[in-house]
Amino acid sequence: MAAADMKVATFCVVTGASKGLGQAVAINLAETVGDGSLIVITARGEDGLNETKKKIESVAPHVTVKIVAGDIAGPYSDELHKRICDVPSPGSFKHAMIIHNAGSLGDVSKLTSELSDPKVITDYYQLNVSSVLCLNSQFFSATESIVRRTVVNITSLCALQPFKSWGLYCGGKAARDMIFKVLAQEQPAVRVLSYAPGPLQTEMVEEAAKKTADPDIRAFFVGLSKNRTALDPDVSTKKMVKLLQDNKFESGSHIDFYD
């Protein structure tokens, strides 16, 4: 497969872009894409989104940044998804991308045998799986006329391996990986990548270190923090961008930072 020319006018959506990996992805993609690009950054945290926008503008002034704050899994998500995926003059874009990054850890203080509240599980799948399908659907209808499309699913080793007290996270990631494998089969013209960024120095990892019920798993995350061996999200993102640029990956595959 030929390398992907990403230095073209791109319509790009990044979810969970207010901090952590999402912020790093939005900034790095902004630096990568061409003149006339529009990056839509969305998350619940408007302050974080403003910060992301400022950072993008300082390194990639040729790109327009649009902020859409809101809950992609909330009760008004339909309307939010339409606003996120609103493509002004689609004819002006050569490439459309969406990075499904927003997600949550879930309640890692409980073992699977303690997950007795259905609302907790349903809410979890709503944010991490269902809303991704809905937003993805909206993205596809909105970008129908843009010939080249790329979809990235931010995944995890947890999609492939069980982690004690992380049943919600593992299940959600496994479901997503599978959805994107099916997408890749159904849409052969679309480049679909499930990218596992590795354990990152972010709030999510801090939360894992504090709340994980299982002592072995918790010790691993505490160690990451203490020894500063968690990855810089910017480093992991650059690897993701390289994968997209090299364009050699099999559509639908799961690739880890450490592969």
Binding site: S116, K119, T122, V129, L133, Q138, P162, G167, V182
Partner: protein, 272 residues
């Protein structure tokens, strides 16, 4: 393959067992109910649940015809209705005198295909998706949690079975809901197995069977290639009888040598 009575009695199924089977009104659930009724020890209880009372009653009639040493309790309920889970689950495990049962077995068989006419990019109704994952993932997790609470580990064996599919690791066009639901269940059961080593956890793939679910699948699946494959399977007589798959699962349970958390196939085509 018939086991000698002594082997059968010494097996984990030969003890007085409380066995809950979801989706027991037809198909594999019915076959499992009947097959297990002939293998569970004297004094065991089969708790059969599904949405259809008439289907459950027909299953019960088949069980009663086969054996009188197992009592049957029917509980009608809809796994889509998570607001009613507390009452529903309480009903499943009611009238359980402590110490009576030496083995508790929960078989998560109930499952839905979801809208198999839709490609991934066509799934846009959050409510429909929420219902799908509620039935196929949430209900399974919460019912397992309740089951393990009702039967604490100290004095009995507990077994939880996840009826899954190769769809859990093989992507199939227009089957993103079914495939992803199974993928989620499979890994959740692996997590459960690691967290709770004293619980016997098994994921079992019964293969493509001659059931109403397969028939619906074959006639409604959106992708033409998939539909052709399914029709061919049916025409070539390659569909398994649910009784056959049920017998294989029961054999695995009796032998009780599987690695907890493993995903096994009815024809031993894979083991994950």
């Amino acid at each position: 393959m018939a086991l000698s009575e002594s082997v059968q009695n010494s097996s984990v199924l030969g003890k007085p067992t409380l066995c809950v089977i979801t989706g027991a009104s037809r198909g594999l659930g019915r076959s499992l109910s009947v097959e297990l009724s002939g293998r569970l020890g004297e004094g065991s209880r089969l708790v059969l649940t599904a949405r259809s009372l008439s289907g459950l009653e027909q299953t019960q009639a088949l069980v009663v015809n086969k054996t009188t040493s197992v009592s049957v309790k029917l509980v009608c309920g809809d796994l889509e209705d998570s607001d009613k889970y507390q009452d529903f689950f309480r009903e499943l495990f009611s009238d359980v005198t402590p110490g009576v049962f030496q083995h508790a077995l929960l078989i998560h068989n109930a499952s839905t295909l979801g809208d198999v006419s839709k490609r991934v990019v066509e799934h846009c109704d959050a409510e429909v998706l929420q219902k799908y994952y509620t039935v196929n993932v949430t209900s399974v997790i919460t019912l397992t949690a309740r089951f393990l609470q009702v039967f604490p580990s100290s004095d009995m064996t507990r077994t939880v079975v996840n009826i899954t599919s190769s769809a859990g690791f093989t992507p199939i066009k227009t089957n993103s809901l079914y495939c992803s639901g199974k993928a989620a269940r499979d890994i959740v059961f692996k997590v459960l197995a690691e967290e709770s080593p004293e619980v016997r956890v098994l994921s079992f793939s019964p293969g493509a069977m001659d059931t109403e679910m397969f028939d619906y699948y074959r006639t409604h699946v959106g992708d033409p290639e998939v539909r052709a494959l399914l029709c061919q399977q049916a025409e070539d007589g390659k569909l398994l009888k649910p009784d056959f798959s049920a017998q294989k699962l029961v054999q695995i349970l009796v032998e009780n040598s599987y690695k907890s958390g493993a995903i096994l196939d009815v024809l031993d085509r894979f083991e994950h």
